[in-house]
């Protein structure tokens, strides 16, 4: 549990951070809250000769809500997400989900940027961001670009982000309708056995939009277009939910681990998705 030697950089602005990245390329990694990266370094599963700490870069912090858009700086901690009342009013699912991540100590350090950039299928924010149809802003030597969360994840720890880019902010629309983040875990501080983010809007009792995304049930977050399609236009009754769950289950591919074998995970996933849809629908 002792990392190998590394150089520590602490730039004051984005230009400084990008410069170190450009200089060291593959040998450099940015450090946010460190609660995913540092354990990997201590296990010597990640070898990072140059560590670039982003904590002094003011531009990466803060939550802004304007014109129906929510913009969150990458270095905003999970604790800050939970504590922000304006954010809670604009997108209550963020607090509901964040409270189910890790434990308070981890949440004081862990950031939204680190959580979505990490690419670990166990992270809760990626699925949530897919549910919300968030956009990720990436900044590199060549400038900025925006990638939808739904297109960002390629495989475990593989994302659209280039090694020399920094994820600077995340933005999504102020939420309408009902929502739920449902997660089963073995204990506090555990990654999901199965988790599901759902957002549902209804008009006159009919679902007009639905968004179902899942965590830790495949090597990337799973956004289930099929489940969404099943729900839209229905009243979201028991049979509709059942059909949506069936559709969502078609999209997952869980693997066996200490949480249990595949059959168990699939069964639990079905229950968790169902509960998430029910709860979101009841709030819509």
């Amino acid at each position: 549990m002792i990392p190998s030697q590394f150089e520590y950089h602490r730039p004051a602005d984005m230009a400084g951070a990008l410069a170190v990245l450009a200089e060291h390329g593959d040998d450099a990694r940015v450090l946010a809250g460190g609660h995913s990266l540092i354990p990997m370094m201590k296990l010597r599963m990640a070898d990072v000769p140059h560590l670039i700490d982003l904590q002094d870069i003011e531009a990466l912090k803060g939550i802004k809500i304007a014109g129906g858009q929510i913009t969150i700086g990458a270095m905003t901690t999970q604790h800050e997400l939970i504590a922000d009342t304006a954010l809670h009013a604009a997108a209550p699912i963020i607090r509901e989900a964040s409270l189910q991540i890790a434990d308070p100590q981890v949440r004081y350090m862990g950031t939204i940027g680190g959580n979505v950039a990490n690419g670990d299928p166990g992270n809760d924010m990626p699925g949530l961001m897919q549910c919300l149809d968030a956009q990720f802003t990436l900044e590199g030597a060549e400038g900025k670009r925006t990638v939808p969360a739904r297109d960002f994840y390629e495989a475990a720890y593989m994302t659209e982000r280039d090694d020399e880019e920094i994820l600077t902010q995340i933005s999504f629309a102020v939420q309408q309708g009902g929502y739920a983040y449902e997660k089963q875990k073995r204990k506090i501080g555990d990654y999901a056995t199965a988790a599901c983010a759902v957002s549902i809007t209804k008009e006159n009792g009919t679902v007009t939009a639905a968004s179902v995304a899942m965590t830790n049930l495949s090597d990337t977050p799973v956004f289930s277009e099929a489940a969404n399609a099943v729900l839209v236009g229905t009243s979201c009754d028991t049979a509709d939910i059942k059909a949506a769950v069936a559709a969502a289950l078609e999209d997952i591919d869980p693997t066996e681990d200490n949480r249990g074998p595949v059959a168990f995970k699939k069964h639990v996933a079905g229950i968790i998705i169902k509960r998430a849809i029910e709860r979101a629908a009841s709030r819509a």
Binding site: I2, R186, N258, R259, G260, F264, I271
Partner: protein
């Protein structure tokens, strides 16, 4: 002098027996001022780290240390070859086996110590570990003890051809011992003739004590004076000194062993680990102090595990439910070396307490110890030697028998309890239970939880479930346990030949305060608080004026250490006895000062008074001063005493626990709605400390029953080596505990105390487990193995067709 303080106030001022005195240790612990092994830093100290085996079974073809030695800051890399000339490449275990210190030709479990790197700092040591090149040739891995007994694969080649082990004949090259207690034929006959027989096989999974602080040591060999000082996480510092002397050849008076503050032990810190030996050798080789502190993964992978017992039982009864016989066979997976920490004559500890709290006339127990490619150990994780296994076994067998008899398990227990008037009770498997009043405790517990009401609620829930109105079942877990603690009488209990007495030495200072030193060592139990209370009541000096010191072998009297709830039964008894010696001398001094005969004064709280003339007295403070400042004819100056206490018997704490649990059948998620724990530990020294011990023990019981395990895959890889997968409960998972008690003093202990630190763990595990099993009883479940994590509960529900 006029005494305006009432007698009650004088009693209160002592903070003696029965007082919920705040823990004196906590001031330093809560302010970060504890002094743990990793806080120790000596001038010039080097740091050690291990190269460990990635394989569970492999031959070592070569070890190349050149690259590691070439790294700047590396002082030495030790391998078995370096230890061999000192005969330290292997070491004896507490169980009569031997264990490799560093891999000698082969490795037998994943995480085994292969080489010891010594470097200027901890970081260089870790880098150097990566540079040691070890060439392995993989060998077939055996992780299943049943397969081990049939396998051609010889794990312990060093024992090849040895058909006799430390505990009798070995049946197979992977077999360690068979241990039998009781009457096999008579038991079989009773079972064959019985009205009703219940049979079950259960696996008590492998787990780990996982103290917050892992193990470590700092060795400092002073070559000029020939003295070795060894600091370490030792639950038995004196035994470590003796072993270190025997192994190293350094005379015992030249070795000083110090246990500093210990961050939890739970049995994990009883044994001797390769790290300790390597730090000593490295200090001898380099001439400077060497520190070794393992990390969490090393602790979970390589230091002593607990449990790993496959238990098969048969229990017979009359139609009315009176138990007639009990048969138990255990296949005990000991891993690669038999390093169980048990008294020498008990290779399966006190597993023969498995008749539990019941009057079972005929019984038989056999235990087969087996080698596998897993880490060695077999320690008593928060319990007396294998008592948790025994209690789990009998408390599950009772439940299975209740199913067989179609009887309420509370009632089945009641009609089989040993009766109050039967104590002292001789059990069929050889123990003499000192005292108990089980019926009173049981009735109190069932009443407190409204047992009948719970059963009615459960029946309604089952009906609602069957009607499809709920997917949550309710389980009522019962357990009644009897512990056997306080090892133990020297006539039958020893560790490496050392009788399991314990000791206390008291010095009263002239101004009426005192220091007492004991052979035990606190690891969170609060000895500094509670032993001072025992003394306060015995010698009339306030607990706040008594320092308790443990853990330094240069100053403390010889003792066997702290584990198996032995501190209060043994060292606590020694403390009371030493206190009585002080009091006897104080009485003579008081009589002299009061100018009366010795028999004319009597002890009263904090003074000796002239019988019939309470206004004539000498306080203990006055007596202490007199002991040092004046010549008293016929009495030596000073006021000191030492007592070595050999307990006449073990003590037998008991308790009645009830757990109410709701279980989500679809996800396997559990919610512990209620946990009631009644403990009877005899005389209660400090109710608050007792309550703290009970909360802690129950929480570790929750852990073990509900998720905590050391799991291996078929290749012998440890699957649960981090706290992400190894379940260590936090406040979040822990239910609210309701504690209660009865008081049945031990008749043979000087103050009637029995020990309590481990009871809640012993009784808690079957209680949590029984709650899970009970929830599914109406659907035909007989038994499902722990740990009851979500997927195993789900699997139980699934196999009963509850997901169809």
């Amino acid at each position: 002098m006029k005494d305006e303080v009432t007698r009650d106030e004088r009693v209160a001022n002592l903070k003696g027996l029965g007082c919920s005195r705040k823990r004196v240790e906590d001031a330093r612990f809560t302010q970060g001022k504890g002094n743990y092994i990793d806080d120790i830093s000596l001038p010039g100290m080097l740091h050690g780290d291990f190269v460990r085996s990635p394989y569970a079974h492999a031959r070592i073809k070569s070890i190349n240390i050149d690259a590691a030695m070439a790294l700047d800051g590396v002082t030495a890399v030790l391998t078995a070859k370096d230890l061999e000339p000192l005969s330290l490449h292997w070491m004896p275990t507490l169980a009569g086996d031997k264990q490799m210190v560093l891999a000698d030709g082969k490795v037998l479990f994943q995480g085994q110590e292969v080489a010891f790197v010594v470097a200027r700092d901890r970081y260089i040591a870790a880098d150097a570990v990566e540079l040691v090149e070890v060439e392995y040739e993989e060998l077939p891995v055996v992780v299943d003890p049943f397969k081990a007994l049939e396998s051609d694969v010889v794990l312990r080649e060093d024992l090849e051809g040895q058909t006799e082990g430390a505990h009798g004949p070995r049946k197979h090259h992977n077999h360690i011992f068979t241990w039998e207690v009781g009457e096999e034929e008579a038991t079989n006959a009773v079972i064959d003739d019985a009205d009703v027989v219940a049979e079950e096989t259960m696996y008590y999974h492998r787990t780990h004590p996982c103290p917050l602080e892992p193990c470590g040591s700092v060795a400092s060999m002073d070559k000029v004076n020939g003295k070795l000082t060894l600091y370490g996480t030792f639950q038995a510092p004196h035994v470590v000194r003796t072993v270190a002397s025997l192994l190293s050849g350094i005379e015992e008076h030249n070795i000083r062993v110090v246990s500093p503050d210990i961050g939890g032990g739970f049995g994990n810190k009883v044994g001797v680990y390769p790290g300790y030996i390597c730090s000593i050798v490295a200090s001898i080789v380099t001439g400077v102090p060497v520190k070794w502190v393992e990390d969490r993964m090393e602790n979970l992978m390589s230091t002593a595990f607990a449990r790993d017992y496959w238990m098969t039982g048969k229990i017979s009864a009359t139609k009315e439910g009176k138990i007639t016989g009990l048969h138990c066979h255990v296949t005990a997976d000991h891993g690669a070396f038999d390093a169980c920490a048990d008294p020498t004559k008990y290779p399966a500890g006190f597993m023969n307490i498995c008749t539990g709290s019941y009057d079972i006339p005929t019984a038989y127990l056999a235990v087969d110890g087996v080698y596998t490619n897993k880490a060695p150990g077999g320690v008593s994780y928060r319990c007396s030697f294998r008592v948790t296994e025994a209690v789990y076994f009998i408390e599950r067998m009772i439940e299975v028998l209740a199913i067989e008899l179609d009887m309420d398990p509370a009632e089945l227990r009641r009609i089989n309890f040993i009766k109050k008037e039967q104590f002292p009770y001789q059990s069929a498997l050889g123990w003499e239970y000192d005292s108990g009043d089980y019926h009173t405790a049981w009735d109190k517990a069932l009443k407190a939880v409204d047992y009948a009401g719970l059963r009615a609620e459960q029946a309604e829930r089952v009906a609602a479930f069957k009607r499809g109105e709920t997917r949550t079942l309710m389980g009522i877990g019962l357990s009644f346990f009897t512990e056997i603690v306080g090892a133990g009488p020297v006539k039958n209990c020893d560790i490496l030949g050392m009788g399991m007495f314990d000791s206390c030495e008291i010095r009263i200072h002239p101004t009426g305060s005192a220091i007492a030193r004991l052979g035990t060592i606190s690891q969170g139990q609060g000895h500094a608080t509670t032993f001072a209370q025992i003394l306060a009541s015995e010698i009339g000096i306030p607990a706040d004026s008594i320092t308790i010191e443990e853990g330094d072998t240069d100053t403390a009297p010889y003792g066997l250490g702290t584990y198996g709830s032995r501190s209060t039964p043994v060292a606590g008894a020694a403390t009371a006895m030493a206190g009585r010696k002080i009091r006897a001398k104080a009485q003579m001094i008081a009589a002299y000062l009061l100018e009366v005969h010795d028999d004319d004064v009597e002890f009263d709280v904090d003074r000796f008074v002239v019988k019939g003339a309470p206004e004539r007295f000498k306080t203990m403070g006055e007596i202490a001063y007199a002991a040092y400042n004046q010549a008293i004819p016929g009495i030596e100056p000073g006021l000191e005493a030492v007592s070595y206490y050999d307990p006449p018997n073990m003590t037998y704490p008991f308790g009645a626990y009830v757990c109410v649990m709701d279980i989500d059948v679809d996800t396997g998620v559990t919610d512990i709605r209620r946990f009631y724990a009644l403990d009877d530990c005899g005389t209660r020294i400090n109710p608050m400390v007792i309550e703290g011990q009970i909360h802690g023990g129950l929480t570790e019981a929750l852990a073990v029953a509900m998720g905590q395990e050391i799991a291996y895959d078929d290749m012998g890889n440890v699957k649960t080596a981090t706290l992400m997968d190894f379940f260590l409960p936090t406040a979040w998972e822990v239910p609210n505990y309701e504690t209660d008690h009865t008081v049945t003093p031990s008749p043979h202990h000087p103050i009637g105390a029995k020990g309590v630190g481990e009871s809640p763990h012993v009784g808690g595990v079957p209680c949590f487990s029984n709650a899970v099993q009970d929830a599914f009883r109406p659907f035909g479940l007989r038994h499902t193995n722990m740990p009851h994590d979500h997927w195993r509960i789900w699997q139980a529900a699934n196999s009963l067709g509850l997901h169809d």
